[in-house]
């Protein structure tokens, strides 16, 4: 008898991260790939999980205040000058 197929629950909760991060034996990856292709809810979940990741990459502050390094140096020098070691 063949092993039981993974349930949607096991796939989403226990396997999705490894599936996405690439740390998974090829046979297992193929099994999950088949599940995704046969199962619209899981496929939608995967697609939106990926869309979430894509969205998060847009969040990194793109603008560092231009004079920040200088501001930090001024701050540290003034604290030192006050003897706050």
């Amino acid at each position: 008898m063949s092993r039981d197929e993974k349930t949607c629950k096991a796939l989403i909760l226990d396997c999705l991260l490894e599936f996405e991060e690439g740390a998974m034996p090829e046979a297992e990856r193929e099994e999950l790939q088949r599940h995704f292709e046969m199962c619209p809810p899981c496929m939608n979940f995967l697609t939106t999980y990926r869309a979430t990741g894509k969205t998060l990459k847009m969040l990194k502050p793109r603008e560092i205040p231009p004079a920040l390094a200088e501001t930090v140096m001024v701050f540290v020098r003034s604290r030192r000058a006050k003897g706050e070691e």
């Binding site: 989403i12 999705l16 939106t48 999980y49 979430t52 969040l59 920040l68 501001t71 701050f75």
Partner: protein, 203 residues
Amino acid sequence: MVDEASDIDLVRRIKAGEDGAFEEMVRRYHARVYSLAYGVLRNAEDAEEATQDAFWTLHRKIGTFDESKKFFSWFYRVALNAAYSRARRRPHLPTVAIEDRMPKFSGDGHFAADVPDWSVAVEDEASARELAARAGEFIAELPPPYRDVIWMYDVEEMPSSEVAETLHISIPAFKSRLHRARLYVRQRLSEVSSARPRAEAAG
């Protein structure tokens, strides 16, 4: 991303009181420290002040840094603490019970409800930016252990090993927190996205 040998060399030069070495450290790390602080504080002015605090702590405490340890993980920890300390002075934001937003399954392991595909929303620049702004708010609602992991890995794109070292957690703990944080943010984004079906069904 991190050049440990060159960091340690710079730390030694600062400890030896070499002129300009501290400034070089500021130039090397200020953007990363600011960005980390921004993840905690979500506000440019606060993140800037936390960056100053972090470098002031670095200046005072570098003598106690143990050179057998990784510099970045020690300093990122200093930076996170500077940001946490500023965050504590602000009105307390309630954090959420992430359990309530985990996917729900029936007894036989199938999804208990429909799973709409809203991914088309990120293909359009304007709606993707809007969703990104919401995602930032959802990350801020997370309990800090989850918030920090998802911010450092998915937003800052730090390698998993650096995140785990900085937060002093194991790789399995890192993965578990990351996945749960992503599941939470995905669910929240689903709730705010109009569940527009794709214009044309595949095939």
